[in-house]
């Protein structure tokens, strides 16, 4: 999967035609084969752009900053990224007519060690859902599978799970990299920012981390598109996907096979309801 040339051409054309003010893509770090997201503002810089299976970071995240706000933006999105873009469109955070989206029919990306990322192996929608132009061969729609880690953990006993997650919350340093790297976390005031109010658990304690991660994952429940920006960002390397994938599974199984960001106009499972929703857990 290497679309470096195509993307450079597209970006160059867009600049030449004056269709965009900024193009968000990837470039090499210069230290190793890893890549840095880059905001190109001039046609002369498009030669920096690359795209291959190391183009991991979900660039939709950059649509929340002042550099792209109210500008015409060109953007590269993979399948998962496009779902988050879909949500941002639904939640009125970006305007479709200001975007030029280069969609990728994604073959999956790799982690720093060069192994295919786990979420890519489970990916349901590898092809960009929102796109003005598609690169690559489209895939057939795949079936949703329950994450293997989730299955393993869920089958353990209550105490084992508690012990596992205690370790997770203990290791959280509440740097909030997870929330900042998440394209769907665009709130000006975030419920897990310690500053918002001491009322919401201000200190970086285990208890505070528990509160922050729980609340945060519930705000993303039914919205998380499993791009794993958060997990890649976490300096403590916490298995944050477990929380999201668990919620995703609960929601998929109980709420009419809901998956986030697949349809435009769908805000996520918590912003709609059905008469058929499970009621047996309520007395």
């Amino acid at each position: 999967m290497d679309y470096t040339k195509q993307i450079q051409e597209i970006a160059s054309k867009l600049f030449a035609e004056g269709k965009i003010d900024v193009f968000v893509g990837y470039r090499l770090t210069g230290f190793d084969e890893n890549q840095v997201p880059v905001l190109i503002r001039d046609q002369k810089d498009v030669s920096q752009l690359v795209f291959n299976d190391r183009s991991v970071f979900n660039l939709v995240n950059y649509l929340k900053y002042e550099h792209t706000r109210n500008k015409r933006v060109g953007l590269v999105v993979k399948g998962c990224d496009s779902r988050s873009l879909n949500l941002l469109l639904t939640e009125s955070q970006v305007k479709r007519d200001k975007l030029y989206v280069v969609g990728i029919a994604c073959e999956g990306v790799v982690d720093e060690q060069g192994n295919k990322m786990q979420n890519c192996m489970e990916c349901v929608f590898p092809d960009a859902i929102v796109a003005d132009e598609m690169l690559g061969t489209p895939h057939e729609v795949r079936k949703y599978k329950v994450n293997a880690d989730i299955d393993e953990l869920a089958s353990k006993g209550l105490v084992d799970r508690r012990v596992y997650f205690e370790e997770v919350f203990e290791n959280c340093i509440r740097c909030n990299a997870c929330r900042h790297s998440c394209p769907l976390c665009y709130c000006a005031k975030c419920c897990i920012d310690q500053e918002t109010a001491t009322l919401y658990n201000g200190a970086n304690t285990t208890s505070g981390a528990f509160h922050a991660l729980m609340t945060w994952s519930l705000h993303l429940a039914g919205r998380c598109v499993d791009c794993r920006n958060c997990e890649k960002a976490c300096p403590s390397h916490l298995p944050l996907h477990l929380l999201h994938k668990w919620n995703e599974r609960v929601i998929y199984e109980n709420f009419q096979e809901h998956l986030a960001g697949v349809h435009e106009g769908d805000r996520g499972a918590f912003y709609k309801y059905s008469m058929q929703d499970p009621d047996d857990f309520i007395m």
Binding site: R69, E91, S92, Q93, C187, A188, K189, C191, A197, Y271
Partner: protein
């Protein structure tokens, strides 16, 4: 620093017998913010309230906690006491130590006392975060919109207009009158329907406070109670009503014949027509789907014969906007199509008709001049079988509910048949005879004697043809046997259903509707006229099947409610509603999505101080918000807060137990 006063009530022995009240006071005094605490025998009594009033001034209290009975009982009383002492009434919190402690833990005084202390501490913590709130007043536009010009709409419009409030009455068809205008006589008095209805129709047309907009439909309704704006589309009639005199030459000369809806398609009308002779307004309209001038560009006879030159083939639909304060929905009902009753041969046998077709036949101004005939051969029937509950009370084929009016009008039909065809005999298959209503049971009893109709309790299982007769086979449950009746004509009492476009209209108005399509009232018993959306009311069959007296009563009730809203220049509203903090609002509009009242809209605000860039934020409409808090819980950025139940208040309660 907050200064809280705590007032613990004995409630006679109700609380004091099971809770150690002095101990509760003592515990309350230990709380940092509590500057005054006292107990009293009856806090709600005037001396009790006086203690509160006195303490407020004496101790400069900033909020008050009363530990007594349920807030659902005396919250208003104590709020008034605060008001009287010059304190904002919403600085009160009530700790429910009677219903939630003394009455339910009568065997354990220690635990009940501990719990009461906890409840007081929670109330104190909450009250610290209480804010001063002020009743909201909303200006009102004193004009009502009535949708539907049947008897319900007519009655509501007249009653409102008689109170000198302007009314806009919108009717879908070219004339008002609705289903009632199609009826011959009405039960249980056998009044002539036309005789009692047409004077009211004329009143509507001539009333100075009623603006009648026929042949029109509501397109949009935005705003909130007292401040709605309605967009109405007036369909092109192709006839200039201002100059038309209603002389009738045009429709006499028109060559195009169309099945007549008013007569259930039994006869024909013209492509330019008035629905029926007594129509109001009595001006014709051109049926654009059938007029050959409009469809093919050939003909033009009506324009030629019209002396006034009122025909205008180029007329376009017109959009009318009206500002209004309240809406009465009176869209009436439709009849269920009995096609699923295949075992009856519906659709195959011409001599099976519906009740409304029968009604038109026996009507004096009907297509057969008041004599029922068999559609197959035009003969007058002798044996007529009436089958009730066609579609009603039938989960398998139709709907589950009872249509309420069929028992009575079928009885009426047996009488009308008896009057028109003296040697006829009526057979009625029924499940139950539901004749609850003034004079109804007597009416049925008398009809049974007078007409000597045969009443058979049971369902019809099959109708088949033998020669030119229909054989109706059913069970007579009372003798437990299958019976077969040879019939000339079969009349089906089809179910009442809501108009097909009721759900669309309900969505447009922002009113909820049930699974059948009837619009939902706010409360089935105590608020049967209101909808959950403030300022929108329901009259007649748009809410549920009803007979004429009930419909008229509900229409008048709507009028009373509308007049209530318009009784002042502004409306007062509870201030416990949501507010948006623009600074934090991300404009994601989740709140807009979940708000059951459509109370949240969006507005554009500058990005920052003095910034020219704009961004979208949510805005709560004070007039519409009912304070449920759904929006607060879905607001991820915590930009919305609900007065009286803020996050801070609730968390304060949680952490102070």
């Amino acid at each position: 620093m907050a200064r809280v006063g705590v007032f613990v009530c004995f409630c006679g022995a109700n609380i004091a017998d099971f809770v150690d009240v002095p101990k509760v006071v003592e515990e309350a005094k230990r709380i940092r913010e509590v500057k005054f605490a006292i107990d009293y025998k009856y806090m709600c009594s005037d001396p009790g309230q006086q203690q509160i009033r006195d303490a407020i001034t004496q101790y400069r209290l900033t909020s008050i906690v009363v530990a007594a009975c349920s807030p659902r009982m005396h919250e208003k009383t104590f709020r008034k006491a605060l008001s009287d002492a010059g304190m904002n009434p919403y600085l009160l919190e009530v700790a429910n130590i009677r219903e939630h402690s003394s009455w339910v833990h009568q065997k354990d005084k220690k635990a009940a006392t501990e719990k009461a202390s906890d409840l007081v501490r929670m109330a104190v913590a909450k009250s610290i975060a209480n804010e001063q709130l002020h009743e909201i007043s909303v200006p009102v536009t004193k004009r009502a919109l009535v949708i539907g010009g049947g008897i319900a709409g007519i009655q509501a419009a007249l009653d409102i207009a008689d109170a000198r409030i302007p009314v806009v009455l919108v009717e879908k068809s070219p004339s008002i009158g609705g289903k009632m205008a199609q009826l011959d006589e009405t039960f249980p008095t056998l009044d002539c329907s036309q005789c009692i209805l047409t004077p009211k129709m004329v009143d509507v047309a001539s009333h100075p406070y009623i603006e009648l907009i026929p042949y029109a439909e509501v397109l949009e309704l935005e705003g909130f109670v007292g401040n709605y704006k309605a967009k109405i589309r007036k369909k092109a009639s192709y006839v200039n009503f201002k100059t038309c005199t209603g002389c009738g030459t045009c429709w006499q000369k028109c060559p195009v014949k169309v099945p007549n809806e008013y007569n259930m398609g039994i006869d024909k009308r013209k492509a330019i027509y008035t629905p029926f002779p007594q129509a109001v307004p009595n001006k014709p309209v051109i049926d654009a789907a059938h007029c050959t001038m409009l469809t093919k560009g050939k003909c033009g006879i009506c324009a030629k014969v019209c002396e006034k030159g009122s025909i205008d083939y180029k007329m376009q639909d017109e959009i009318i906007e009206r500002e209004i304060g309240a809406v009465v929905v009176a869209t009436g009902y439709d009849l269920w199509d009995p096609k699923p009753y295949e075992e009856y041969g519906v659709g195959r046998f011409k001599d099976i008709i519906t009740s409304l077709e029968f009604e038109r036949m026996v009507s004096a101004n009907g297509p057969t001049n008041g004599v029922p005939v068999r559609p197959s051969d035009g003969k007058v029937p002798k044996n007529v079988v009436f089958i009730k509950c066609i579609g009603s009370r039938d989960e398998a084929k139709g709907i589950e509910y009872c249509s309420k009016i069929c028992c009575m009008y079928t009885t009426k039909h047996t009488i009308l048949l008896h009057h028109k065809v003296h040697d006829s005999h009526a057979y009625v298959f029924y499940m139950d005879i539901r004749a609850a209503g003034k004079g109804y049971e007597e009416f049925v009893k008398k009809a049974q004697v007078d007409t000597a109709a045969t009443y058979l309790r049971g369902r019809v299982s099959k109708i088949y043809k033998k020669g030119d007769k229909l054989i109706v086979r059913g069970e007579d449950a009372q003798i437990g046997q299958v019976v077969e009746v040879v019939a000339d004509l079969v009349v089906l009492a089809t179910a009442v259903i809501p108009p097909k476009d009721n759900p669309d209209l309900a969505r447009l108005l922002g009113v909820s509707y049930d699974k059948y399509g009837y619009m939902s009232e706010a409360h089935p018993k105590l608020r049967p006229v209101e909808t959950a959306k403030a300022g929108i009311f329901l009259a007649g069959c748009t809410q549920a099947p009803k007979d004429i007296p009930d419909t008229v009563a509900q229409a008048s009730a709507c009028a009373a409610k509308v007049c209530g809203i318009f009784s002042g220049d502004t409306m007062k509203k509870d201030p416990m509603i949501s507010t948006v903090n623009n600074e934090y609002c991300t404009g994601c509009q989740n709140c807009v999505k979940v708000c059951p009242y459509g109370a949240i809209v969006t507005e554009e605000v500058p990005m920052g101080h003095g910034s020219k860039e704009m961004r979208t934020v949510a805005k709560i409409n004070e007039g519409v918000c009912q304070g449920c808090g759904s929006c607060v819980a879905v607001c991820r950025s915590m930009a919305i807060s609900l007065a009286g139940f803020t996050d801070l208040q609730i968390i304060n309660e949680i952490v102070s137990i």
